[in-house]
Amino acid sequence: MTKEQSGKGTMTITEKIKEKLPGHLLDSGGFRGDETVTLRKEALIDAANYLKHGLKFEFLMDLTCVDYLGVKEPRFEMVYHFYSFENNLRLRVKVPLSLEESAVDSLSSLWLSADWYEREVYDMFGINFNGHPDLRRILMYDGFAGHPLRKDYPLKKRQPRIAESVKSKT
């Protein structure tokens, strides 16, 4: 179905990305007409440029991260959701990241909305974003140790900011 909707010839989005970035497409798939591509992290900024200006995915809907600790390697996977108003298409882009090299290029130069999303991912997962203008925590407070949505963050770990000195009066 995407062959007609993509507008340019008969190639799917996946095929176009594969042609544009040879050797960087790790995996691809689809679900009910929406395509998913998995890219090497070195290709992310080029792919994003191509998606925004070449394939008219003007809108970065969402950007998040998943921690697959103990499920698969590499451990982290960045997930980007793009939308094209012009072609009414959605596209999911995944970028695997290892713990040792958990840095990826920031998309905030292309989409301003990436700024706070990337800060949230940094806060929760400890992923670093190269070229981000202001990479600091957005939800947790200064002085919070660790990244709480990592699967190896202790479930019951608490980091109170006020010492528990007062007790209930009742």
């Binding site: 947790m140 109170p160 006020i162 528990e164 209930s168």
Partner: protein
């Protein structure tokens, strides 16, 4: 019995505690520290059906310096805890605290890295209201319990001193 028998009907005798507590418990000025969905039920208590004004407690003050009762309505997370503590510290004595809903009482189902597991880890609490959210009736019940508590206090001694 009292001085009334001597001076007729122009005098009324009481204990200072009783007179002051009577005034205090029917004129609570609230500070609504509303952070979450419990606030909807709290607004309902203010509205005409339940009408918290019947208890003299309808008047919210948005400066802690003018408030008597701190209603902590909703989830308090670790990031917010110092703010809550500061609001409490700014209130003048005498002051009371109501933990409104399970989140303020115990953290509720937010048993996680971010949420304070009950505001009594940060400030002292007088009355706890369970419920997620509590029914307006439960809030009025808590208010009456707080009135009972106030009526047993003495003006001569500050609490906890």
């Amino acid at each position: 019995m009292g001085l009334e028998t001597v001076f007729g009907k122009s005098f009324l005798t009481s204990r200072v505690d009783d007179a002051v507590n009577w005034a205090r418990k029917y004129s609570f000025f609230q500070y609504p520290f509303v952070t979450a969905c419990c606030g909807m039920e709290f607004m309902s208590v203010w509205a005409s059906t339940y009408d918290i004004a019947r208890f003299g407690a309808e008047f919210p003050r948005f400066s802690p310096k003018q408030a008597d009762v701190l209603f902590v309505v909703g989830t308090v997370n670790e990031k917010l805890a110092p703010v809550l503590k500061r609001v409490y510290d700014q209130m003048a004595e005498p002051k009371w605290v109501v933990a409104f809903g399970v989140c303020a009482t115990s953290g509720g189902f937010y048993d996680n890295y971010a949420t304070v597991q009950g505001i009594d880890k940060v400030i002292p609490v007088d009355v706890y209201i369970p419920g997620c959210p509590p029914r307006p009736q439960a809030i009025l019940d808590a208010l009456m319990k707080l009135q009972e508590k106030v009526s047993t206090e003495t003006v001569l001694k500050y609490k906890g001193k």
